[in-house]
């Protein structure tokens, strides 16, 4: 009918780890009820599509109007600067300020392409019950990585857990360790200088832990390249004493571990470089290729508004990527006591993330670095190469890929 002719249909590509797709669908429905002239279709896809085919689609002009993306830096060249269309760009600057940089193309300090649907913070989960069973005391706040490793190994030996310490096989998690060991990542000229002293300390730790059995080769040693490998299943089955992962695990652990044992999130362990965790997350970004930037901005304005966003975070059990909400603290009415406690720990460590960690996350070629690191360290851990060799190749990989990217 004629009414339909006036309706603008926008498309939002979305992936889900948990229930956030449902929550977003709810919110969008609500938006449509209030704004009959805009309809948003939520195209739910596997994460693979976001990471691998969305860039191609965007490059060929076939992309959606908005998408929830992880590689914000990589896609920043397609991002829409919504400033002209937003009701109050200031609100965005205030509340999303540090994260907006992650979405901006290099050199751009002003544009507003989207907001964070979720801030992820890396951090360790501990199986408290195992500690109790082993009768080993949990290291306290500000303990070092080495302390934790020792304690976890003790516990594991007592209770026969095969995984004393588990780190997700992921560049992000490794960098949580590396930053705490004092890596600087960037050289004086601002270009990446990945393999520095801090980095080597962290790499050596991981390498040694695998040698001494603190870490099992099953995570780092059993897949190749940039493949992600987590230890959620093992943690759920009480085989992991300490598990360095991140905030996104909370809702799942709440569901799958249930009453089987007590688990807690603890603050990040420390090293020479401090106790920072690595930030990360996914942002909802608008794209230049849209035919309806105005309408897109209206939708984004709605979704980014404080009450809506608060509802979104709290229903999906996400650490807020909104400074105002983070400061206020969020209620998670659907969360179990353990989950709520863990969320609190993570929200707190979010506030203490070091600038270097932010810089890595915001660097538009960050994935090049992270991928090279994880791929090469993985080879070293599995015994395929030496650490020295890995260092050389990391440097070479990063240089080569950046050069390729800069070819015009």
């Amino acid at each position: 009918g004629p009414a339909a002719a006036e309706t603008t249909t926008l498309r939002m590509t979305w992936y889900s780890d948990g229930n956030e797709g449902e929550v977003m669908a709810d919110l969008l429905k609500r938006f449509h009820e209030q704004n009959k002239d805009i309809e948003i279709v939520l195209d739910q896809v596997p994460f693979k599509a976001i990471n691998e085919t969305l860039p191609v689609q965007l490059a060929s002009g076939q992309g959606p109007d908005m998408a929830r993306v992880v590689d914000m830096g990589g896609l920043s060249r397609f991002a829409l600067d919504m400033r002209p269309f937003l009701k109050d760009p200031g609100y965005w600057e205030t509340n999303f300020g540090p994260f907006l940089e992650w979405m901006r193309p290099a050199g751009d300090t002003k544009s507003i392409p989207g907001f964070m649907t979720q801030l992820t913070v890396t951090g360790p989960f501990v199986n408290k019950t195992l500690f109790e069973q082993a009768g080993v005391a949990m290291p306290g706040e500000k303990s070092t990585w080495e302390d934790w490793a020792k304690a976890a190994k003790q516990v594991a030996d007592k209770v026969q857990a095969p995984f004393p310490l588990a780190l997700d096989r992921s560049g992000h998690r490794f960098y949580a360790l590396a930053v705490s060991q004092g890596t600087q990542v960037f050289g004086a000229n601002g270009e990446p200088d990945v393999v520095d002293g801090g980095f080597k300390r962290a790499a050596q730790l991981v390498y040694d832990w695998h040698k001494s059995g603190v870490m099992s080769k099953e995570l780092w040693g059993s897949v190749s390249g940039t493949a992600y490998r987590g230890a959620n299943d093992e943690f759920k089955n009480a085989q992991v004493v300490m598990y360095l992962s991140g905030s996104w695990q909370i809702s799942q652990f709440a569901k799958t571990v249930g009453d089987a044992f007590d688990w807690v999130a603890v603050p990040n362990p420390c090293g020479l470089g401090g106790c920072s965790s690595m930030p990360g997350g996914a942002g909802l970004v608008a794209f230049k290729t849209t035919q309806h930037p105005k309408e897109v901005a209206r939708v984004m304005d709605y979704l980014a508004s404080e009450p809506v966003l608060a509802e979104f975070y709290s229903r999906s059990l996400f650490v807020p990527g909104h400074l105002g909400l983070a400061k206020k603290g969020l209620d998670y009415p659907t969360a179990s006591p353990e989950a709520a406690a863990a969320l609190k720990v993570f929200t707190a460590s979010a506030a203490q993330i070091s600038p270097i960690a932010y810089r890595i996350q915001g660097y538009s070629n960050s994935r090049i670095v992270l991928n090279a690191v994880i791929s090469r360290l993985g080879q070293a851990v599995s015994g395929e190469t030496t650490l020295e060799d890995a260092y050389k190749r990391i440097t070479a990989d990063v240089a080569q890929q950046i050069a390729e990217r800069n070819k015009k």
Binding site: E218, N365, N371, E404
Partner: protein
């Protein structure tokens, strides 16, 4: 019976196709009169080759263009020409026998792994699907059921296949449970390069064997029954019937199986990737995984390098297949 109803349903479904094919007859007859019966071959080939042209040959061409350009732009026209740089980069090796001496060692490890994988996989695939086809061709009770049993894995998507086996093979999976009840030690299959390769081969054979079995089964059915009767009159022992009658007459189908298994084997990617992730280290990293990751998974979608690698792969496979045909032709009936 339900199958009867199904069969009827199938016939009904095929009917319009039959009508359509019949309607095509007058124009085709006219065509035949215009160009002669022999040249009708071109008419028969045309549709397929139009599709090939559009969706295979043209893309291969684009791929070649990709392989001599660099950068991250998608449209070939926007990509800077780099000549043979991509190839030079790929082939920058201290020694081709030692992948770790290469600049792009992952590519060479992928090549080596794939070669190893293909040798084992094709051998196992051909032997097992042959045995299975022979057994399933016997007149046995419940033949249809057994055929389905052997075929079902083919219906599963690679992700699901890999997943099932990952569950079975993990530290506390079914297999280790079985081993420990038998008094053995748990084996970490995905940490040991040898085991990882073994299971990669195993799972890929498991998943695709049904398809090849089916091809051979169809081939077995095409062998005239009276030849077996003649062989039986000649008091031929079973193994000789197999070696001297069945296998030679099945040879054309065996060629299909060997060629397809080889090519598909060399192209293996997703199920091995989901199963082992290419590890441990890079022990089961396949060339196609390398190519795919280079083009898609890395942040820099390096289409140029990926295209160069794929051109190399394609050429190698093509040469291999031609060699096979040359060898096979001599044996053909």
């Amino acid at each position: 019976m339900a199958t009867g109803a199904l069969a009827r349903l199938g016939q009904v479904a095929v009917l319009p196709v039959g009508v359509a094919l019949r309607l095509l007859d007058p124009p085709m007859r006219w065509m035949q009169r215009m160009i002669g019966a022999r040249r009708m071959a071109y008419v028969f080939l045309l549709p397929n080759f139009v599709f090939f042209g559009l969706f295979v040959f043209l893309p291969i061409g684009i791929n070649v263009v990709f392989s001599v350009t660099g950068g991250t732009a998608l449209f070939p026209s926007q990509r800077p020409y780099v000549g043979g740089d991509q190839f030079a980069y790929l082939f920058d090796c201290g020694s081709y026998l030692d992948p770790s001496s290469c600049r792009e060692d992952h590519f060479w490890r992928g090549v080596a792994n794939t070669a190893k994988f293909v040798v084992f996989q094709v051998t196992a695939m051909v032997l097992l699907s042959l045995v299975t086809a022979l057994v399933l061709n016997m007149k046995i009770r419940g033949r249809g059921f057994f055929r389905a049993v052997y075929f079902f894995p083919v219906l599963l998507s690679p992700v699901v296949v890999a997943l099932i086996w990952k569950w079975i093979l993990q530290r506390d999976g079914l297999l280790n449970a079985a081993i420990t009840t038998l008094g053995g030690q748990k084996i970490l299959f995905f940490v040991d390069p040898g085991w990882a390769m073994f299971w990669a081969v195993f799972v890929s054979v498991w998943a695709h064997m049904g398809f090849y079995t089916l091809i051979l089964l169809a081939g077995l059915q095409a062998i005239p029954a009276d030849l077996y009767e003649a062989a039986e009159m000649d008091a031929t022992p079973r193994w000789r019937v197999l070696l001297r009658i069945t296998l030679p007459l099945l040879w054309p189908n065996m060629i299909v199986v060997i060629v397809l298994a080889l090519i598909k084997g060399a192209q293996t990617f997703d199920e091995v990737f989901v199963l082992t992730g290419g590890g441990p280290g890079t022990a089961t990293l396949m060339v196609v995984q390398y190519i795919y990751e280079t083009a898609f998974s890395s942040q820099v979608q390096n289409f140029g390098l990926a295209a160069a690698a794929s051109v190399v792969l394609g050429v190698v496979l093509f040469v291999l297949t031609l060699l096979q045909f040359a060898a096979a032709r001599r044996k053909e009936v």
